[in-house]
Every structure is written in C-alpha cells, then in structure tokens.
Symmetry: C2
Subunit: 339 residues, 2 copies
Amino acid sequence: MNDPVLVEVMRGTRVESRHGGALVISDASGKRRIAIGDVERPVYPRSAVKALQVLPLVAGGFADALGLGHDEIALACASHSGEPAHVETAEAMLEKVGRDGGCLECGSHWPLDQEAMRAMAARGETPRSLHNNCSGKHAGFVCLACAEGHDPRGYIRPDHPVQEHVRRALVTMMDTPHEAANRAIDGCSIPTYAVPLTALATAFARFGTGEGVPGDFADAAPVIRAAVAEAPSMVAGKGRFDTRVMERFGDRVFMKTGAEGVYCASLPDAGLGIALKCADGTTRASEAIMAYALARLLAQSAEEESFLTGLAEAPLHNWNGIEVGQLQPASSLRGAFQA
Amino acid sequence: MNDPVLVEVMRGTRVESRHGGALVISDASGKRRIAIGDVERPVYPRSAVKALQVLPLVAGGFADALGLGHDEIALACASHSGEPAHVETAEAMLEKVGRDGGCLECGSHWPLDQEAMRAMAARGETPRSLHNNCSGKHAGFVCLACAEGHDPRGYIRPDHPVQEHVRRALVTMMDTPHEAANRAIDGCSIPTYAVPLTALATAFARFGTGEGVPGDFADAAPVIRAAVAEAPSMVAGKGRFDTRVMERFGDRVFMKTGAEGVYCASLPDAGLGIALKCADGTTRASEAIMAYALARLLAQSAEEESFLTGLAEAPLHNWNGIEVGQLQPASSLRGAFQA
C-alpha cells in the first residue's frame, strides 16, 4: 500500500483500525502547500465535484432564467439525505421546466436519513427517484437540457448535450483529460472520470477564487458557493458533516463529500483547494482528514478549532452510549501540517 | 501501513479503493499454513469469537439442562439481523430461565435487516434490546448466570461470574493473556480482549477439531458447530454472508464475522483455523478475503469454487442495477495461496 496511515480508530488504549489515504492542498496555479501520499494517482471524484457539474447551468444564465433559488442551486450540488425538504425542492426544480420526478434517470433508493426512511415506511410509501441522494443534481441536468431546448431523455449518457457540457466544465476547471479512457459509471449512472487529486485541489482553489478560469465560470462559482452557504441543509442533511461545517462557517468554506472516501473543499480567503481520498473508501476517515485540515487552515479562534478538532477526533459510542474509543489523526497527517 | 493490499475495488477498468489486511491460517498446534501481513499484531476479535464465548454454557451442561435447541445455540453465536425469528428465539431462551428482554444489557438498535426495520416502523414499533444483533449471545449469558444460580444483573462486567467464565474459555482456546491491559469495551458493552490473529487461527483450528483442548470443550465444540450448521439463518440472517456460506456447506465450515473487519473460521476436515482482519475495518473486504480463502481450501468441485469465487469477486451494481465494478483479490492475496 503506497498511502500512509492518516487516521487511526482507537478502541480503549489501542488502535483498532487504520485508514490510509492521500491529501493535497494547493493554490489555483497548482502550487502545492501540502501533499501526503500518492496525489498523482487518478481517483474517481464521484459526488465531490457536483458543484463543478452545476457550473454550466449557472454560467449559461439558465439558473437565473428559470428563477432557481439558493435552495435549488444548493440541492443541485447535493448528496442529500432524502428528507422531505430535499424531495420537495427537487420536485420544484423540475416543475420549473414542466417536468416531474418521472424524468429522472438516477435510479431509486430509500432516503439516507433513517428517520425519513422510517417515516415513509410508516406511511406505506416506497422510494422514488426523487429520494435518490443525487436527485437535485439530476433535476439540475433536466433543467439545463430543457432550458437549452434539448430532449432531456438520456441525459445521463456521455454523448448527451448535458454531459458534454458537464465534461467540458470539468476539463476547464481541472486542465486534465476527461475521455472514454478514464471514464466509469457513477452510482447515479452519469459518467465519472478518474483524475489526479492534484487536479481536483487546483480546481477547487479556482472554484473558491475565480483565478485561472473563464469569466462566465468565475462569475458562476461565487453564486453557487453563496447558495450553499445560504442553504447548507440542502447540500447534505440533518447532522451530516458538510451541513454541520458549512452551517458553522458560512461562505468561508465550500466542501463536498464523494463516495468511496473522496472529499474536496475550497478555502476562498486562503486561496486554497483541498482534495483527499481515503484509500479504502471509508467516509468516517475522509471526514476526519478534512476536519483536521480545516482545523489547521480555516479556524480563526480557539472555539472554531475546538469545533473542528471535535469532528476530527470524534468519539465512538456503543449501543449503551458508553464512549468506547475515538478517531484520531495519525502522525503522518499531523506531521504534514507541522512542516 | 504495514499490511499489504488484499482486496481491490474496481470501477470500470481501474482500482477505485484498496483494502489492506492480515490473514493467517494454521492448524491446532499453531503451525502456519499461510500468513500475510502482521499476524502477530493484537486485534480485538469483537463478535468473531462469539462461538467460543458460548463454550461455558454448553460445556457446563447448562444448554442441555435448559433444553436449548439448535436455533437457540446458533443464536447465542450470532450477530443476527433482527428478523422476527431472531427476536422470538432470543425471547424463548430468556423464558427458559424465567426472564424477558428487560434483563438484557446490550443496548438497543433498529434491526440490521432493512425490511425488518421498515416493517417495525410501519407497525409504529421502536427497537428494544431484543433487536440488538447481540441479543442471542446476551440471552445465552443470562441463561448461564441463572443456571448457575447467579444474579444475572451486571453480567456484562468483566468481574461478573459470567464474564469470568467467558474469559477463561477464551484463554483456554487461545493460550494468550486476557486481562485488563488488553481489554476494551465491545459494541454490546461486554469486554473484548486484543489478541494476535495467530491465537485466533489456532483457537478456531481447535474449535473445529477438538485437538489441544480440555475434554468438556472438545465435546461442546461439535455441538455448537452442529447447531449453527442446522440453523445457519440464526447466526446472521437473510442474504448475509455467514448464512449463505453455511447454508451451502453445512458442517464442513464454521465461520463468524466480527465488527471492524475481523473474520474467523474453522475447517474441521482440513484441521485448519482461519483468522483475518481488514486493516480499515470494512466488511466488504473481510468477506471477500474469507471467500477467497474458502474457495482455495474448502471447495471440492468446480461448482463450489464458482460459488465462493462469486462472493470473493462480487459485482457492484448502481441504483439502476448497472454493473459498475467488482471486488477482486489483490496479487498479494492470490500469491500467498500459490506459494
């Protein structure tokens, strides 16, 4: 395994499990501030780049033309929990182009939020595509297709005008090829392209600053960041990591999780982008790494640092509520920030 | 990271995630057949040793005296899914000593089985300790306490006569210290003791053969293995890995998963024990490693090998049912079995 251990899972006084990974933090020119592990190895960013995938909708003026609000733009960037507000907002987006959930091609699953799922079960309901955690992004794709006068059917295919738009936006932000050779299929059936973590960090530094990107994207990025800062409950959900951190820090940070342990963030004030992947794909570790990085780079007071450190070193409780262990940043992660 | 990559998660044509780990296969004397990774590093076995924790109940004659059947002994070894049959069986065990679910000290959680959970939600029910995946083991502990004339209250504490019994059984099977220095608290609040994987492999070779263990344990082990072989749906649940494999192979294998990526198994005919831990604690990888080992050591026909290889190389489907990738044994795992 090439990647160093970045997070340890403690039980009692011993390390019970270990998570390796890679992390890179750079500015918009690609100049690295911090790099740990193999940051050139291509990774599938999965949902971590949803905010970049929304750029064509906003930069093209379609979000304005359709009157999409903060909630709706934030939901287009979301891996949401399937709470009622998420489902209603996705439906409202589709109504603006005269469509409904039936045109979504993301597939169905029960809400990630367990309370929402049990409430549905109690009402005798079954999941629809609107409950899919990606339904906001897909509603955005349908909006883009309809606003441009395309038939939305097949909008998940690489050769559909919507995915061509999205692919060009990703290439623009990352300066790295997105083509059949590095393409796979995401959980919601759209293409996902393997790219180096370094390209993701640069892209999110650009997304946070507008540096090095064409004018229409430079104008659109702050609109998207502001929408998520206004509606952080839309981008994930109750108690979720992205929502909790952005509720606390507002537009000082934009962050987005992806499946299989990927995480990206923009720190506009510092002019930095963060990209990381937990090698084994585990979310508890990718969140702990991101929280540790933010504690070092974003916190401006002891209270803010304590909030983020509390997430990086999250306690583990058992079914009786007894604290049985905790996460902790490993020495290689701590060391990289001390250098 | 000391441990080699044992399982790769493919998406399209690329490795998306990697799981490191350690694996040891030995006979009842501790002679190693195969060892990969740091097999001397102590790990918390968690639920993987539940069958050993049942030894005092059976070896002491209490299971017989109370008339515990196959289902009940199998459930005492279980991390069950909380299906109705599991809950009813745990309740039936407690009734045999005049108790009910109120005396269980494992804590409550919703059933692991999603259908069972949603059915409960639809009925307006909330989870009780009987739904805890460890409720069968805990019911066994209460049976042991009552049958011996002890007050069961506090049976989760290290100094309760029940946990003293359990600790001595683990020491007997493993020949390795179980004391305050290597003790932590398990998810269900009983003690869990960090022990080398080598000790676990030896213990499960002994559990499968009776070699090197005192007569009462040598008599009890086949009773426990036979109970699980008769009732594999009790030890896990519908569609779960342990259940599927033991439904197929009967008493030719005993296997048990534990939290944080631990897995143990007995191969009675070969006289071998298997112990492994996925370093990052991920179940998909620990199952794939076990399936690969069983494909090499247990399968006696092309059909059996194909069944197990299908589990080791499980396909991954997305929300539209499209096959987007698969698990695969890494070269270090394959190589260890070719040597």
